[in-house]
Amino acid sequence: MRRYVRRFSRTERLLHWANAIGFFALLATGLILYLPSLAVLVGRRPLLQSLHFWSGIGWVCILVAIALLGDRRGIARLAREVDRFDRDDLRWLLGRKPAPQGRFNAGQKLNTALTAAFTVLFLVSGLLLWFGERDTRFRFAGTVVLHDGLMYVALVLLVGHLYLALIHPATRHALRGITVGTVDEEWAARHHAKWRSE
């Protein structure tokens, strides 16, 4: 008989999926604007620019709304978990064993911190591009380099994330946690021993 334990709250899951949907909407419209072959195929650049811009605004607004209306104390706790690295986390990053992990392993903590920073940077550089097109005071030579660079690095992180979440046999069970909220107790004990023994 399998037993399940709750790993992610509703607020955490909503945040994850709102972020994922927003990212893919922005990636799709962004790539059409960015890649010449797609730009020529699709055309309608002014429309796509608006779609991309408003998807970005909507993305951030929805994330903020979920955070404000959801379990704020839970989010503060999540931030603390992601912030703190103990000795085992550092050992985990160096590939040493044993290195029992909490609810998030050290890699997941880094990924969460980076994803949060990238969201802010995507927003800032995107707004600078948008307003820079309208007012020279917001125009910086490096804005487009930053916005594109973020996209490339985020894509690399995303590919790794998708591999671990969908393909890698040892870790793909985590997908259950982020969709329905619960994970297998034995799996949790193996991968997140410190969390289970709390």
């Binding site: 309608r44 703190r84 690295f85 103990d86 880094l110 920073a117 125009r139 490096g142 487009v144 380099v145």
Partner: protein, 227 residues
Amino acid sequence: MSETSERRVGRGVFLATLAGGVSSVVWGKAVWDHVSRAVSPVESLVPLLPSGGWRIYTVSGSLPRFDEESWRLRVGGHVRKPVSLSYRELLALPKAEQVSTFHCVTGWSVDNVKWGGVRLNDVLASAQPLPSAHALEFVSAEKPYVDSLTVEQAGLHDVMLAYEMDGRPLSRAHGAPVRLVIPEMYGYKNVKWLAGVNLVPRALDGYWEELGYDRDAWVGRSNGYRT
């Protein structure tokens, strides 16, 4: 695990990424230019960016299509004799070639673009501009895109109407069959899908200038940039 052995790594990563990212709007382009120049010898083998770093900017719903038979370049305005060149007639004019860097006002550049085309004087000669013509208006087939240069600006040695890019006929994305090239100025002055050149008494605001961009779009010293 005691509190003392914990380090605040997550916050550090978040703040460092933020600080590095935000400040890069100032230093990012210089670093990127260095990197792309350093790897440029191998770039022809392994492209660093898709399409060599070009982006295709358009202002209307679709890109103009080029039909070789019906296409004409009309030269008019303050001229003694308005002319209309077919694609074949344009190709028959003396051919000029140059390698120059293309700068977009939004911050991206493409180094060492190989252009082939004609010098403006060779196009204008048969139309015989009148003394009252002090500027040239370049009209794109992509409506309502238009831009203009003074006669002095248009007379710079490396201004051309390009019908070849990197050894191939100019593609639709880059303004087929012919575009204006003025490397000293930002890309928005380099009108694509050129359909007409009008000689006019003075330079007027083009498409982007009406939206607040500088009419004299010198690279590095206009549109809020200083070098």
